[in-house]
């Protein structure tokens, strides 16, 4: 019971403390940073953002806001547009508009892939040794005939592609 009485006193003290602080303005309290306040955002799924886009109105804009309080039929088209632009940054059309970013992305990707090709060229020239002699044209030609003579893979493989009657590759 003693603890709850003490807690009750602490609670009252905290309440009165905070009221005092509010009354004094910012004494002892950190000023609310911009990022902690409700922010304006252009989002398709948020038609009415928490705050208006323009926070500090010029004298002209303030006058317009006053005029807005009267009948809206008195407003001209330009005034209505100006009121819109005070409240919102981009229109939905502007928000949804596509960009040409894909061109930069794709062009950049292709460029760096091209640089990769340069690396391959360097490797072939400076690093790799000669390829085996069994890749030369005469060897491959003789090898191919030997494969066909042996009837290698006759069902669906290489020998099935050769026409043994006409002595040429099947069309």
């Amino acid at each position: 019971m003693l603890a709850s009485r003490a807690f009750g006193l602490v609670g009252k003290r905290a309440l009165s403390t905070s009221i005092c602080l509010r009354a004094h303005g910012h004494a002892g309290v950190v000023k609310a940073e911009d990022f902690s306040l409700p922010a304006y955002v252009d989002r398709r799924d948020l038609p009415l953002p928490e705050v208006a886009f323009v926070k500090d109105l010029s004298a002209q804009q303030k006058a317009l806001k006053e005029k807005e309080k009267a009948s809206w039929t008195a407003l001209s088209v330009d005034e209505k547009v100006e009121l819109y632009r005070i409240k919102f940054n981009e229109t939905y059309a502007e928000m949804n508009k596509g960009t040409n970013e894909w061109k930069t992305v794709l062009g950049g990707v292709l460029f760096f892939l091209g640089l990769t090709g340069l690396i391959l060229i360097w490797q072939k020239h400076f690093m790799y040794g000669p390829i085996p002699h069994t890749f030369s044209d005469e060897w491959v030609a003789a090898q191919t005939k030997r494969m066909l003579d042996m009837r290698m893979n006759p069902v669906e493989g290489i020998s099935s592609q050769w026409d043994y009657e006409k002595n040429e590759w099947k069309k």
Partner: protein
């Protein structure tokens, strides 16, 4: 009808949008990148003697191998 005319007018009163990097250089980057890619790989694939191991079917004329 008068209201719809006004609506149309409001819709057309857009702010001019400043061209960004992609608007200004996008085409150049795209075509330039494609050109670099084509040239480098065209050279790499055909001119430097890489053996790709293509199938002999339809390509190689068989040659007598028996000695």
């Amino acid at each position: 009808l008068a209201r719809s005319v006004r609506h149309t007018a409001v819709r057309q009163a857009h702010r001019k949008h400043e061209p960004d990097f992609h608007d200004k250089y996008g085409n150049l980057v795209l075509l330039g990148g494609a050109a670099v890619f084509t040239v480098v790989w065209g050279y790499a694939l055909t001119q430097i003697g890489i053996e790709w191991g293509f199938s002999p079917v339809g390509r190689v004329t068989p040659k007598e191998w028996r000695e």
